[in-house]
């Protein structure tokens, strides 16, 4: 394993997801200022040079660019070799990678090749008195938050979407560092990509989320939740058992699914197992509706209603409609 060295400098950010990249620039800037160092964005792809301007506008001092046809498709081998070669050449102190499914495997492989540590899905990042990166993440199925630091460099963390704010855009200039290196050929081949029908608004971006759980008897019953969500201008979300056990839907809110922090979360017929709670805990206001007064979700709720969701939800929809004059 590599020893810590003073040679490593600078905060780097990378994500193949543009929104996430910008959010990383926001947090990265804060860390870089704290360390009195520069912030660099890693730009990998083919014919992507033009994208550098925007990255400067969101706070990058520098953009390291590898432009190569092998980077057109996001496959592990060329991307891992691009990142590791860059890191070996320019020795960053910190590397933040967007925690998408592709980003996570990229970060894990890159960390292994660089013989360093990686803390995935960080929801807390700061610099300690020893100028180390402190990385906090949820562990034990949402039961705890663990804080880590990395004894080796670069210190790598992956960061989920919507944890940190996208910074403000300002016309700015920066330096583009072009890097040419022979990349590894991919060992896998993408044969087909099917888009999953996504909701019009991403669940992470919804200001209001009405979530349904096992308390709903039939898939069709979600109509009453849809109605409430419509009145509130929000989105409907689901728990994992509805997706995996009952196969009604495909993606869920919770530790292994989407992490959300809306202004208002209304949990309907959701018991509140810790894995689900981990995905909603940072919501501003939590309302829980459940028949069972002992349901654990009440522990983390601001407003608790012990009752039948089939009666409460339509009544709530009516009341809100009246108040909001719709």
């Amino acid at each position: 394993m590599r020893a810590l060295s003073e040679q490593h400098k600078g905060v780097w950010v990378f994500s193949e997801n543009k929104d996430l990249m910008l959010e990383l620039l926001g947090k990265g800037k804060e860390l870089a200022e704290n360390l009195k160092t520069e912030l660099a964005a890693i730009l990998l792809g083919h014919n992507v040079k033009d994208k550098a301007t925007e990255l400067f506008g969101y706070g990058a001092n520098k953009v390291y660019l590898i432009d190569n046809p092998l980077l057109e498709k996001p496959l592990a081998e060329p991307y891992v070799s691009a990142l590791t070669n860059l890191a070996n050449q320019y020795k960053p102190d910190i590397l933040l990678v967007g925690s998408t499914r592709k980003g996570k495997e990229l970060a894990s492989r890159t960390a292994t090749r660089l013989e360093t540590g990686c803390v995935p899905d960080c929801t807390y990042l700061s610099i300690d008195a020893n100028k180390r990166l402190l990385m906090g993440r949820v562990v034990y199925g949402g039961n705890a938050v663990a804080t880590h630091f990395c004894r080796t460099k670069p210190q790598i963390a992956t960061v989920p979407q919507r944890v940190f704010e996208k910074p403000l855009y300002k016309e700015r200039k920066g330096e583009v560092v072009k890097f040419d290196v022979k990349l590894e050929e991919p060992k896998t081949e993408i044969v087909d990509v099917k888009k999953i029908e996504a909701a019009k608004v991403k669940i992470e971006e919804a200001k209001t989320v009405v979530a349904g759980g096992r308390g709903l008897d039939k898939k069709e019953d979600f109509a009453i939740l849809d109605e409430l969500a419509k009145i509130l201008g929000g989105q409907v979300a689901y728990t994992r058992p509805l997706c995996e056990d009952r196969k009604w839907f495909t993606d869920w809110v919770g530790l292994s699914g989407h992490y959300i922090k809306p202004a208002l979360y209304i949990g309907c017929g959701i018991s509140g197992v810790i894995q689900h709670v981990a995905g909603i805990r940072d919501s501003q206001i939590i309302v829980a509706i459940n028949k069972d007064p002992e349901a654990p979700i009440f522990e983390i709720a601001d407003y608790k209603i012990v009752g039948d969701l089939y009666e409460i939800i339509p009544a709530l929809a009516e009341a809100l409609k009246r108040h909001l004059k719709k």
């Binding site: 592990a76 292994t112 562990v139 938050v145 663990a146 990395c150 896998t188 983390i300 009246r322 108040h323």
Partner: protein, 302 residues
């Protein structure tokens, strides 16, 4: 025709039929006599995880109480075992379960054997205590190299207790093989793998050559529950147990000393919620109260 020529003719016909049969069943007969060549060798990595539903926290100190929490096979690792068994039943495979643990983890290997795994390896050493994913993947790679040849390594997408999803890709990197994560469907034909993987907004179909490592999601199958008979049989099967030394790993490179990541604290999250119970005689009354409260909070209406 004489009697003997009739017999001769009959013999020839039988011979031709037999030869035709053999030729049409070549693949099948080859498997019978030459099983090893046809068998896919699968290693399934399993983790003895904490049952996170049984973890409690001291409300005053926010410290976790894990001593009473049960240990179990990490959920998605069961999906990995099941997928290996389905390949075995469809086209023949040798399924090896492998675990790395600081404590005794024979229990989860017994479960893997009861489900139908052929072999089980436990790499266990007190020196492993506190290993991060950097080290765990290193130990697993050492064990895989000692076990020998393989076509496919299957892992769960992540473990239920730490949920890092790193060990699979890190192991693939250490072995220098390709990896496909988050598989929802898996097919293997000769040395070609075709895998459907679930991403945030799409389903990707990937083709790769063996040897490869695939991590599976719960979507891929429903793990079988072994019968009582199978559980009893499994209790008699051998579990190969190796220490760090047995796989040529020095103690300084594992555990807390070998790990890149150090943990400074683990605390239960703070809960600061209002916990206001809204009561009423009717649903309409409750709804009215709640609607007013939400408007006051400024979280409804624009």
């Amino acid at each position: 025709m004489t009697n003997s020529s009739q017999e001769h003719h009959y013999f020839l016909r039988r011979l031709t039929e037999t030869l035709n049969f053999v030729s049409s069943r070549k693949q099948w007969i080859k498997i019978m006599f030459d099983g090893d060549l046809q068998t896919v060798k699968i290693i399934v990595c399993v983790k003895q995880a904490l049952d996170v539903t049984q973890i409690k926290a001291d409300p005053a100190t926010r410290q976790l109480i894990t001593v009473d929490a049960k240990r179990k096979i990490s959920d998605f690792d069961k999906n990995a075992i099941e997928e290996a068994l389905r390949i075995k039943e469809k086209q023949g495979a040798e399924v090896t379960a492998l675990t790395v643990s600081a404590e005794d983890a024979k229990m989860i290997l017994r479960e893997a054997l009861a489900m139908g795994a052929d072999k089980a390896y436990m790499i266990s050493d007190p020196a492993f205590e506190g290993s991060d994913t950097f080290v765990t993947s290193y130990i697993l790679a050492g064990a895989v190299k000692k076990i020998g040849e393989f076509d496919l390594i299957l892992c769960g997408e992540a473990s239920v207790d730490s949920y890092s999803a790193q060990v699979g890709p890190r192991l693939a990197e250490r072995l220098g093989i390709s990896q496909i994560t988050y598989a929802r469907k898996l097919g293997i034909e000769g040395s070609t793998l075709t895998v459907e993987r679930t991403l945030e907004d799409s389903i990707e179909t990937i083709r790769a050559k063996t040897p490869a490592l695939v991590t599976v999601t719960a979507e891929i199958n429903t793990p079988r529950i072994p019968s009582l008979m199978a559980i009893m049989k499994a209790s008699k099967k051998e579990i190969v147990t190796w220490t760090a030394q047995d796989i040529g790993i020095s103690k300084e490179t594992v555990g807390k000393t070998g790990s890149a990541i150090q943990v400074t604290e683990v605390l239960a999250p703070k809960v600061e919620r209002k916990r206001i119970l809204i009561k009423g005689e009717t649903a309409a009354e409750i709804a009215e109260e709640l609607a007013k409260a939400l408007i006051k909070e400024g979280v409804v209406g624009r």
